[in-house]
């Protein structure tokens, strides 16, 4: 049963085998697998339970419903916008459905350089297969590649860049294009319509508007979770207490370490090692109306500039991107008539972004309130150089695809380029924080797996070094930046952690 606590108010007192904190890409998987195996499970989700009928395709209504801080969460210096979900289903409700397994060289690097031999290919293969079956992962059909992605593919092919049409988790997609505002048609196979209903059907008690604020441990064992019943504004409407011998923390790579820090758990590495997969975007303007916001937003993927076999630590990929008017406007520099000069051609605009496999590291610390953890992040020079190079390649691809002009949204003065212009102007300008809109939808690694508590927060199975029965099952466990879209890796690691808990159940319950 899914209960909206905020509407009802009052206190919640529960007892269960397992308390799962968070219902997104990791938490929902863990909850469903544990409940399906007969464990009694309570899920606490601080966001609300919105469903397809609430997804109105309007930015002013959906951003506050689906995103942390209405989509305006940022690093403490304001230089990076951090987009994260805040609803039942978490970020999978607004993601764009790229479905990649963990790259083999990354898994190898995690095993060999981070002392995690348990991350074996054959063990993970079972988790990948289960997750892909439940999420209905399949290749995008040729007729589903929209105008934006066709242009990007044409540009990449003309330049001889490596790229491919990807797999997605969609079923019966009507190609409306509003994926980032929640799927109004229940075609996106997000946690909201896959694992959350599975958990529900298996008897999990799922509470929305339930904010965990402290995890208590006693004698080196996790004991209970305390928190608040909140309304949609986050204001307290009651208290909550869940007693359980196992807690699975899956609140995301910002909120999970924030909660551990508030609880005095996790050790000295909690909140450190933050990677963001930072992105910067270029806009291309074409002669014809593209209406790039219609159709599947991201189906093509350029991997020319990342070679993880050769170097698993660096590189970047290029991905088509489209925003609806308000999101697009917020990414373009300036204001007033200069700003509108670009917005006027919104329907002729195609976006292409650079997503960096970053080595730069940041940190999550407690803020004044759980609503606003403090996020800091500094781009290292090599990463800034790669982002600038990526912008050059984005411009190349868009021009090769037929763009009549390309806008690099440097602040406060953008760089406007025409075909034939010297693209080295981009690298001469360079990328610096605060000098261009940088966004992140993949914060990770803040409770990373390691072989030793001096290097990480959890072991290879996701269990905290300092509290038996406390597991972390979200992107915060990645030992390094993943270098690929993280949805399937997150779900597979959560599946693996859930099955590990089941295998150890008698000991954990004792």
């Amino acid at each position: 049963m899914i209960t909206q606590l905020g509407e009802r108010g009052g206190d919640l007192v529960e007892r269960a085998d397992v308390c799962v904190i968070g219902s997104g890409g990791g938490g929902a998987v863990a909850a469903a697998e544990l409940a399906a195996a007969g464990r009694s499970v309570v899920v606490l989700e601080q966001g609300h339970h919105w469903t397809a009928k609430d997804f109105t395709q309007r930015e002013d209504e959906m951003l506050p419903r689906l995103f942390e801080e209405a989509g305006m969460r940022q690093t403490s210096d304001g230089s990076v916008q951090v987009l994260q979900g805040r609803c039942v289903g978490g970020s999978t409700v607004h993601n764009l459905c790229y479905a990649f397994r963990t790259p083999a060289p990354i898994l190898r690097m995690w095993r060999e350089e981070h002392g995690l031999p348990e991350l074996a290919d054959d063990v993970l293969a079972a988790s990948f297969a289960r997750v892909e079956r439940h999420l209905k992962v399949k290749p995008i059909r040729e007729d589903e590649v929209n105008s934006l992605n066709r242009i990007v593919r044409a540009g990449a092919e003309k330049l001889g860049y490596s790229g491919f049409v990807t797999k997605h988790n969609r079923e019966g997609c009507v190609q409306a294009g509003y994926c980032i505002l929640g799927c109004s048609y229940d075609a996106k196979q997000s946690m909201l319509i896959t694992y959350v209903p599975r958990a529900d059907a298996a008897g999990a008690r799922i509470y929305a508007d339930a904010r965990a604020e402290r995890i208590e441990a006693e004698g080196g064992r996790v004991r209970r979770v305390l928190g608040s019943v909140v309304d949609t504004r986050g204001e307290r409407r009651g208290g909550l207490e869940v007693t359980a011998p196992v807690v699975v923390l899956a609140a995301g790579a910002v909120n999970s370490p924030d909660l551990l820090l508030r609880s005095g758990l996790g050790g000295p590495q909690v909140g450190r090692n933050l990677h963001l997969h930072p992105t910067v975007t270029v806009a291309g303007f074409f002669d014809e109306e593209l209406h790039a916001y219609r159709g599947i937003p991201q189906s093509y993927y350029i991997d020319e500039f990342i070679d993880l076999e050769r170097d698993p630590h660096r590189g970047y990929v290029l991905m088509p991107i489209v925003g609806f008017p308000a999101l697009t406007a917020s990414l373009l520099p300036g204001f007033g008539r200069e700003h509108f000069r670009h917005m006027r051609d919104y329907s002729k605009m195609a976006g292409l972004l650079v997503l960096l496999h970053d080595q730069s590291q940041g940190r999550v610390e407690n803020g004044a309130s759980p609503a606003q953890p403090r996020i800091s992040y500094g781009l290292e020079p090599d990463d800034a150089r790669q982002l600038a190079e990526g912008l050059v390649h984005c411009a190349e691809v868009l021009f090769a695809g037929g763009a009549r002009r390309v806008l690099v949204p440097f602040e406060p003065e953008p760089l406007l380029l025409a075909p034939g212009d010297d693209l080295a102007a981009i690298t001469r300008h360079g990328v610096r924080q605060g000098g261009i809109a940088i966004a992140s939808t993949h914060p990770q690694s803040t409770c990373r797996m390691a072989d030793d508590p001096s290097r990480g927060v959890v072991n290879a199975w996701g269990e905290a070094f300092d509290a038996r029965g406390l597991f972390v099952a979200d992107m915060s466990v990645f030992p390094t930046s993943l270098g690929a879209p993280p949805q399937i890796t997150t779900a597979a690691l959560a599946d693996r952690t859930a099955h590990h808990i089941l295998a150890r159940w008698p000991e954990l319950a004792a």
Binding site: R58, A176, E235, F335, F340, M343, S347, A371
Partner: protein, 176 residues
């Protein structure tokens, strides 16, 4: 050492001079009376709404003849409703930020005219001073207001025709 956003919020929240500034009316009574009534306003006070309206007007100015006026759309109501719907921890600094914009020309630019009493060109110059300020905190304040302005304005159907945006496939309220 650069000041953090949180530091800025603390500055907004506790600076004595700014605290005094926060308590005085932001807009003269005559201008308040002229301000368009904001039926159902939930977050901003009328004088703050007046400043916000002038800021949004300049942020989304298209220069196009016949473009809808901000005041004739739901843009300000949308921003007000958004701020009212968020955790108060996140929105608490906004009223004071608006007062700083109103008094910014006096405080930062050493002119003798408040923002709402300026002409369009002067207002643009004042906002540009925020956007390009050497103080990171002023630039952050500018971005916060720009994001609100863009969300408020570009979520209005009246703004879409000029962009060639066909709009959602569902009706208002998700009607199918």
């Amino acid at each position: 050492m650069p000041t953090s956003r949180r530091g800025f919020l603390r500055l907004l929240g506790s600076g004595a001079a700014l605290g005094a500034l926060a308590r005085i009316p932001a807009v003269p009574p005559a201008a308040r009376a002229a301000a368009r009534p904001t039926a159902g306003a939930a977050f901003f006070q009328p004088d703050e709404t007046e400043i916000l309206t002038r800021v949004v007007e300049r942020m989304v100015d298209t220069g196009e003849p016949g473009a809808p006026r901000v005041a004739d759309t739901g843009a300000i109501r949308t921003i007000d409703a958004l701020c009212a719907s968020l955790d108060p921890v996140l929105t608490r600094p906004l009223p004071l930020l608006l007062r700083l914009v109103e008094w910014g020309p006096v405080l930062f630019d050493f002119t003798f005219t408040r923002f709402t009493r300026m002409g369009d060109a002067e207002r643009d110059a004042s906002l540009r001073a925020w956007m390009t300020s050497r103080l990171r905190l002023r630039r952050q304040g500018f971005r916060a207001l720009r994001n609100l302005a863009m969300l408020g304005w570009y979520s209005q159907e009246e703004s879409w025709a000029a962009l060639g945006y066909a709009g959602p496939l569902l009706g208002r309220g998700g009607e199918r």
